[in-house]
């Protein structure tokens, strides 16, 4: 069935870009539950399985600085028992039916996901556990204390690693006091102060039924999907007030550079700053442009200049991470410590030249060919389609997001890309972080 849809929908999108396809590439069904949760569903019976997620505006961006880590700990403890079930009960019941419980946690979103057989017995058992975890989590005090110890150890361990140090330093400098500048899991000091009451309060405020986004992909009917969505959201807290939002991100006024000493054999280089938000009208131009700059693997200028021509690094890449507010634009690479200065110079020159002139017509055409022609690979599995449902749902993107994306990519010009990069990426106002290295002076 995926195939049938793709064959018709894709032909419409790829071969007749100008025409509005009569049929959507993915027939996304969308409705709201009685309690106001947004539901996104693609029905597909090829495999006897179902992917489901329920997500909320409850990511790390919603933490208070003094209580950084509450959002992450809330999500982490969701599966630690609920409604009379201990954490071992939860684990056993899921394992007994072969269900896989997962979750998401990032700056914007938090929630739980489930992959289960669609067979009625297994599905009902797994969904019963999931709905209770979401609605009446126990947040057991002794589990909280244990997880604080584990997390603290993991944070200290991570702080010995050059990639973590580089990333932490970068986000702090690029975002300052904005929540995106905080560590997603909290800091060692703030995690220590988290209480059960903090978690319960965060759950009440952020995991409300009206804010929930339910995404379902797989082997159930519409009627079953409706019932599942009701079951999963009925018992959620009632929203109090407006949906939680995030403050705007300020553009960097000046560039800033930081060197952090480290013993590692490689220097870790990060360059970037605040980039683009979900739904931003510049996103397509930036995405396609970045494919040429550093996102297109062996096709990209970063890889060509740093790896192919000079053998300076195994990986040299750039990317945009679009979030609810302006997520970062990041260039990163690792190189032998005595080569850090050279690699940095090459990366900066490559970026500056790209921002100044944009891609060549030939590069743009090659990028478009990849992005348009690879479209079927983006939605060739239940897992990938489910991921798009969560994205479209949470960020309130149009249901036609995927076909619009292909059409918009086709339309982008060299001038659009140059213009977008010149407005959004200022090479003279970038954050540069070098961890390790013998001589790098960023």
């Amino acid at each position: 069935m995926l195939n049938k849809l793709l064959a018709t929908g894709l032909a419409a999108a790829v071969l007749a870009i100008a025409a509005v396809p009569a049929q959507a590439i993915l027939p996304i069904q969308h409705w709201q539950t009685a309690g106001g949760a947004r539901v996104y569903f693609v029905e597909n019976h090829d495999l006897p399985m179902l992917d489901i997620s329920v997500e909320f505006p409850a990511g790390a961006g919603h933490d208070q600085p003094a209580k950084s880590g509450v959002a992450a700990m809330t999500q982490r403890l969701l599966s630690s028992g609920a409604d009379g079930m201990s954490e071992n009960d939860v684990s056993r019941r899921m394992a007994d039916v072969g269900a896989q419980l997962g979750g998401r946690f990032d700056f914007d979103r938090a929630g739980l996901s489930l992959r289960t057989l669609s067979n009625s017995r297994e599905r009902r058992e797994a969904l019963d556990v999931l709905s209770r975890l979401l609605s009446v989590p126990a947040f057991p005090g002794d589990v909280l204390e244990r997880e604080k110890v584990r997390l603290t150890g993991a944070l200290k361990e991570a702080d010995t690693k050059p990639d973590t140090i580089g990333s932490r330093t970068f986000y702090r400098l690029a975002y300052g006091d904005h929540p995106y500048g905080m560590r997603e899991s909290g800091e060692v000091e703030t995690v220590a102060g988290i209480t059960r009451e903090d978690l319960a309060a965060f759950h009440r405020r952020h995991y409300a039924g009206r804010y929930a986004v339910v995404a379902l992909m797989g082997d159930v009917t519409r009627a079953e999907a409706e019932a599942i969505a009701e079951q999963l959201t009925r018992g959620l807290p009632v929203a109090a007030g407006q949906e939680p939002g995030l403050p705007p991100v300020a553009a960097l006024a000046v560039g800033e550079s930081r060197t952090v000493p480290h013993h590692a054999s490689q220097a870790h280089i990060t360059i970037g700053g605040p980039g683009v938000s979900r739904g931003d009208r510049d996103y397509i131009a930036l995405y396609v442009g970045n494919f040429v700059l550093g996102g297109g693997g062996f096709m990209s200028r970063m890889t060509e200049e740093v790896r192919q021509k000079r053998g300076l690094a195994y990986s040299a890449a750039s990317y945009f991470r679009p979030l609810q507010r302006e997520g970062p634009f990041i260039i990163s690479m690792q190189t032998r410590r005595d080569q850090a200065a050279e690699a940095l110079e090459v990366a900066r020159a490559t970026l500056a030249e790209f921002v100044k002139s944009g891609p060549t017509g030939k590069e743009l055409a090659a990028a478009k060919r990849n992005i348009v022609n690879s479209f079927p690979l983006r939605i060739d599995s239940n897992r990938k389609i489910h991921e798009y449902l969560t994205l479209i749902g949470f960020y309130r993107l149009p249901l036609t997001y995927l076909e619009d994306f292909v059409k918009d990519v086709e339309r982008v010009t060299v001038a659009d890309i140059r213009d977008a990069f010149q407005r959004r990426i200022r090479p003279d106002r970038m954050v540069t972080v070098v961890v390790g290295g013998d001589e790098a002076k960023p």
Binding site: F298, M299, T335, A366
Partner: protein
């Protein structure tokens, strides 16, 4: 909760061994030159995965040129007389494809995922580089630097990768699994393009290769294309593969890795049999079940006891690596919680194994694992790439992909007594190697270190 390289491998194995009837419709053919072609139609999306795997990897290297299998894998992207350096990647990219490659101990795989209409392009390019790689000295000079950077990034600066590398180098005396796939740094530094060329001439022949195609394809059409592009490449006699069998172990082996880190870490390997005869063997299936009893889910013993109840470990893992050309291994590992020691978690891991030796496992535990195995078999079919890689991996180890059904059946037949018996038989000091990470302060540390696992590209 970081999963070290070996555990990813073990995990993949767990999935492989616990899978399934999915592959029953895969057709298998052999071209006149000995190249094998395995085609598995999956018509859910108009996409195709093409994988050419060569039965050659770290296991086929000799001292002084460790890492050459992986270096050659990098060089396979550096052009032929008709396809310039980097052109392979450009052609696949513009066709909307994604490509990469990987090298393991046992085999080397090259793959592309594309719209089904681009199947022929992928086959043509793979056939070309099977026999025409240029291996220019100037390209080699740059690429060997990239591989050294890869080694620094993957191993030298990652304490737990060093622990795994040292574990294997200690566990084995003669068998080439003792060398890291990415190679020792000194061997990379002294490697020449001729080394890669020799290796290419010896091993890259159609009679040492398997083409796996999974996707929305007509098998007869794929076979015709495979014949057109690969069929004309002449077979060559392969070098003799020496067994290099590992001599007996006479007692517990230990190694310590001092490296800058916060928490200690313990990784243990037990020698165990690998799967050779999917029909006649039973121990590998029992070992797979043993690994799952210990670490098959959050409800399994190690997490429940060591992490949740006793809180002695921040994480604890078990895995069985039984699909291999060489010896099999059973692994246990743990990270102590802050304030607890490596010795304490080592004792806790040993105690859990001893408990199984003494008291066995319950039927309830095995039923849970069997339910998970059945479900995992369904879930795996969601990824065409996984299916292609699974076929290539099994075949490289001499296990027919046609036995996937049989493997699931055999796994479901394992009894609690059999699990207890393999625990008793293989959990012995004379079969154990233990590697411990001894954390050093970050300040003032200066690296001394060396290298593990490997793959190519981005």
């Amino acid at each position: 909760m970081t999963i070290s390289g070996y555990l990813v491998r073990a995990l993949l194995l767990a999935l492989v061994a616990t899978s399934c009837h999915a592959a029953t419709d895969a057709g298998e053919h052999k071209l006149a030159n000995g190249m094998r072609v395995i085609i598995k139609p999956d018509r859910r999306a108009p996409v195709v995965v093409v994988m050419v795997s060569y039965q050659v990897g770290g296991i086929d290297e000799v001292n002084g040129v460790t890492g050459v299998a992986h270096v050659l894998e990098h060089m396979m992207f550096k052009g032929t007389p008709t396809v310039a350096a980097g052109e392979y990647s450009r052609l696949i990219s513009e066709a909307g494809g994604r490509e990469n490659a990987f090298t393991s101990n046992d085999f080397t795989g090259y793959f592309a995922m594309l719209q089904k209409s681009q199947l022929e392009l992928a086959l043509r390019l793979e056939a070309d580089r099977m026999t025409n790689i240029t291996l220019a000295a100037e390209e080699f000079a740059k690429e060997i630097k990239v591989v050294m950077e890869e080694r620094r990034w993957r191993t030298d600066d990652r304490p737990r990768s060093l622990v795994y590398e040292q574990l294997m180098a200690t566990a084995l005396t003669a068998h080439p699994y003792r060398n890291p796939v990415i190679g020792w740094m000194s061997d990379l530094e002294s490697m020449r393009v001729e080394d890669a060329r020799d290796f290419y001439r010896r091993w890259y022949t159609p009679n040492n290769a398997t083409l796996v195609v999974v996707g929305d394809v007509e098998p007869q059409a794929v076979l015709a294309l495979a014949g057109r592009y690969f069929g004309k490449i002449p077979a060559r006699v392969l070098p003799e593969r020496k067994p290099q069998a590992e001599p007996a172990q006479f007692g517990v082996k230990r190694v310590t890795v001092k490296a800058p880190a916060e928490l200690p870490y313990v990784l243990m390997a037990f020698r165990a049999p690998a799967l050779r005869d999917p029909e006649g063997d039973w121990e590998p299936y029992a070992l797979e079940m043993l690994a799952a009893v210990l670490d098959g889910s959050d409800a399994a013993r190690l997490n429940r006891t060591l992490v949740r109840e006793e809180r002695i470990a921040s994480s604890a893992d078990a895995g069985y690596d039984g699909i291999a050309r060489g010896p099999g291994f059973f692994y246990l590992s743990a990270t102590p919680t802050p304030g607890r020691s490596a010795a304490e978690v080592e004792q806790a891991l040993r105690r859990e194994m001893a408990l199984i030796v003494a008291e066995g496992v319950t039927a309830e535990e095995l039923d849970r694992i069997k339910a998970q195995a059945v479900a995992a078999h369904v879930y795996q079919r969601d990824s065409m790439f996984f299916q292609a890689r699974q076929i290539a991996m099994l075949e490289s180890a001499g296990i027919s992909h046609r036995t996937l059904d049989l493997q699931l059946k055999k796994l479901r037949e394992v009894t609690p007594e059999q699990v207890q018996e393999v625990a008793r038989k293989y959990f012995r000091d004379d079969a154990i190697t233990i590697a411990t990470l001894d954390p050093q302060p970050l300040e003032g540390a200066r690296r001394a270190a060396p290298p593990a696992g490997a793959r190519h590209a981005q």
